[in-house]
């Protein structure tokens, strides 16, 4: 299915509800699910 996705949702205590979505293309290609992007720390000068 083109433009297809799988979404799994479940309750997670204090977090509320968590969900994850993967495209069928990624699943078929066995590409790993990637969480988060960007630098580990974002720096700003203190006022």
């Amino acid at each position: 299915m083109e433009n297809g996705f799988v979404r799994v949702t479940m309750p997670a205590g204090a977090l509320g509800t968590v969900s994850g979505t993967r495209s069928l293309a990624d699943i078929a290609a066995k590409r790993p699910q990637v969480i988060g992007a960007g630098p580990a720390v974002t720096y700003e000068p203190l006022p």
Partner: protein
């Protein structure tokens, strides 16, 4: 002489509290630490206990302790060689509560394990009637208690090896908190940053305030229910969500553990947990928390979609929220075309 007397009286009249020396040392004595959470027990409830045939040993560093079990699940009795004489006498048996919890304290040979004593809390104790195998979990709560500037502190033998080390394997609890942090050299006690040092004999804790510490401000994205977030470097460990605790010495940190909501739900380092270089004089916003995502394994072949029931909530810093997942309720699986659901259903856990 008269002048000093007047100053002292003025202090009393104004209700001034006791004045503690900036630095000094405190005598350490063995005590059971009133901790609810330590780095080694927060994520999984402690170490796994598995004793076959009704008796065995509890590993305590190089000082193993004899352990026996009787009864059956719901009526478990645990025997432990508490006095170190190599025998388990009648007075050394403890009846676990119906839920399988029990606490015991016992002696260690001080020549090999300097604490000289240990304390363990068991949970979920159960005995298999056929194999007499004892199973459950346990956490160490043996500690050395002292005081820093009037505040009680407990150095907890978190890894249960009979000694206190400052390499992150043991833990520090500062009252009245119930969460402990990995024991290192730099810690915050009563709002001040101290350098701590346990002497070789494990009888004294020296402490001195850090003069002009180079601090960075740590910011954590809003995360539902997150109440404790302990970060650790090779130098120190801090709960950055504690009141007044978000300023930490510059250095490279990693997640030790966190707690959510009722504190029975933990945040733990995952396989690819990030490292956080904290810079002094900066606001350091961490990539962690926020809205964790559910990770899952699936296959898509020949038009069939299969989702495996192995689900892990993972945050953007690679941290995991394993105990937050409510396994009593089945997850929902939806198939989407673009943003539109075209099929959905519930799945059980395998």
């Amino acid at each position: 002489m008269r002048r000093w007397t007047i100053i002292l009286l003025a202090g009393v009249a104004l209700g001034a509290g006791p004045v503690w020396a900036d630095d000094g040392s405190t005598a350490l004595t063995f005590a059971v630490a009133p901790a609810d959470h330590t780095p080694l027990s927060a994520a999984n409830g402690g170490q796994t206990l598995h004793v076959s045939g009704g008796s065995g040993t509890l590993a305590v560093g190089i000082c193993p302790v004899r352990l026996s079990a009787q009864g059956r699940t719901g009526q478990v009795r645990v025997g432990i060689d508490a006095d170190g004489d190599g025998q388990i006498g009648q007075s050394e048996w403890t009846s676990a509560a119906p839920d399988g919890s029990a606490s015991v304290e016992f002696a260690l040979p001080a020549a090999s394990c300097p604490l000289g004593r240990a304390a363990v809390t068991f949970t979920g104790l159960a005995v298999s009637p056929s194999s007499k195998t004892l199973t459950g979990r346990y956490v160490s709560r043996g500690s050395l208690r002292g005081e820093i500037a009037g505040q009680p502190v407990w150095l907890i033998d978190d890894n249960l090896d009979g000694r206190i080390t400052q390499d992150g394997q043991d833990a520090l609890l500062v009252g009245p908190n119930r969460w402990a942090v990995p024991l290192r050299q730099l810690h915050r006690v009563g709002g001040r940053l101290y350098r701590l040092s346990v002497d070789d004999a494990q009888q004294q804790l020296r402490y001195s305030p850090v003069a002009e510490p180079q601090l960075g401000q740590v910011a954590v994205p809003p995360t539902p229910g997150l109440t404790v977030l302990v970060l650790e470097s090779d130098q120190g460990a801090f709960n950055v969500l504690a009141k007044g605790g978000s300023a930490v010495p510059a250095g490279e940190y990693r997640l030790s553990y966190g707690l959510l909501g009722t504190a029975t739900q933990a945040v733990a380092p995952g396989k690819q947990t990030l490292r956080y270089p904290i810079r002094a004089g900066q606001r350091n916003t961490l990539r962690i928390g926020g809205a964790p995502e559910l990770t899952f394994q699936a296959s898509y072949e020949g038009g069939n979609i299969s989702v495996l029931p192995k689900l892990i909530a993972v945050g953007p810093g690679g941290e995991t929220y394993e105990t937050a997942i409510q396994r009593a309720q089945p997850p929902t699986v939806e198939i989407l075309a673009g943003n539109q659901p075209v099929d959905s259903g519930s799945m059980g856990f395998g």
